[in-house]
């Protein structure tokens, strides 16, 4: 059973990407939640971590997710995003 999970995890990772986005305009801890909630609404976003001290959002997405959708989600939350790294 453990092997099946491992194979499934590796399989899903091969279709995943890690995006790091600089988020401008976050001023308080609740801003990080607004950005996180907005990004999580996008289909294909599996994990989001937002940090106030670095002003960065780290997002794990399916390869099919459009980068623009991520930036628009950040904009909808009231902030400005700029992709700083995009890794498979």
């Amino acid at each position: 059973m453990r092997y099946i999970f491992l194979i499934l995890a590796l399989f899903s990772l091969s279709f995943a990407k890690v995006m790091v986005i600089h988020v401008e305009g976050m001023t308080c801890p609740l801003c990080t939640m607004a950005v996180k909630k907005s990004l999580k609404k996008i289909d294909g976003v599996s994990k989001v971590k937002v940090r106030l001290n670095t002003k960065k959002a780290t997002v794990i997405i399916d390869k099919k997710v459009d980068k623009k959708a991520l930036l628009n989600a950040i904009k909808d939350a009231g902030y400005r995003g700029k992709i700083i790294s995009d890794k498979d």
Partner: protein
Amino acid sequence: MKRREFLVGSALTIGAITIVPSELFAGETSRKFKVIYDFDLKYDTKSFEAKLWNPLPFNSDYQKVRFLKFSGNYDDYNINSNNPYDARVLYTSWSKSDKKKTLHVEMEIETKTREVSLKLIKKASKQNLPLPKDVEFYLKPTEHIPTDGKIKEIADKLTKNIDDTFQKVQAIYDWVTETTFRDPKVIGCGVGNAGKMVESGYFGGKCTDISSLFVALLRAAGIPSREVFGIRLGLSHFSKALGKADKNGFANISTWQHCRAEYYIAGIGWIPSDPADITKLELVEKLKYDDKKVKELRARYIHSWEMNWVGFNHARDFILSPKPEQFPLNMLGYPYAEVDGDVLNYYSPRAFSYKITSQEVK
């Protein structure tokens, strides 16, 4: 120290010190309030880990915590002021489980009218005495309280050709109370981003926004100043806009957090002010800046506070202890909690969830 009730008497350590001598208070009257916080932390999942930092009042000449008692099913706790502002915090934490996460805090708080004589302020102001070293800390900028750029430009313009410190304070206070207005759409007390306010040219806000603008301009003019984060406790004898209670002196104060300000004049010490409540009075009572009642409050709130309120701390843009996932914290007037690393919405007592009540004790 785990899973136990903790009782602290009047010997609580003092978190912040006022150096205003008690003889400066005129017509001092004392009030007592029993304040209760009840937490029952909520999250999307059944099983979660939680950490809660709750601000505690400081002790001073004008406010004292007579007793503090708390209990709950937390796994660990401490009371600390491990930050540059000595902001006192009750920290509690719960390990991951599906049990309820509850905390009950009770305090009896005694307050005294805080008023510094204008005659003494003006006299001290003319002496131009040197500032104590520790007070110079409150001249420094923070992320949300810049002292350069447009803030500096406005401060310079307002205080041009004025040498006397108190006259500078008066010029800045008059400008802030006239220029700003209370915007009821702003969530909670506002973020208090003085730099953004002057850059945008939009001067609508709430108490933290308006107090921060006042503080930034004063600091830019070389006058030490600071916000004082706290909560209203009950009925105001001046206006219901500034505090209410039922006929028995009871109030649900869950959303009554309120930020005030102080400035420092050497020879006197910290002087209370509350520019934001001028704008609240105008909005709630539908009054204009030059109406008699507003004029009266403006004259009072440049050197006094009605004490149906208690102060917690002066902290801005700082890091709590133990260190949370998110930092720095903009201000600590509300309870702050992180659940599985997510920040709970402290502006919403229901979503968080917490309830704060106050009963005036006669």
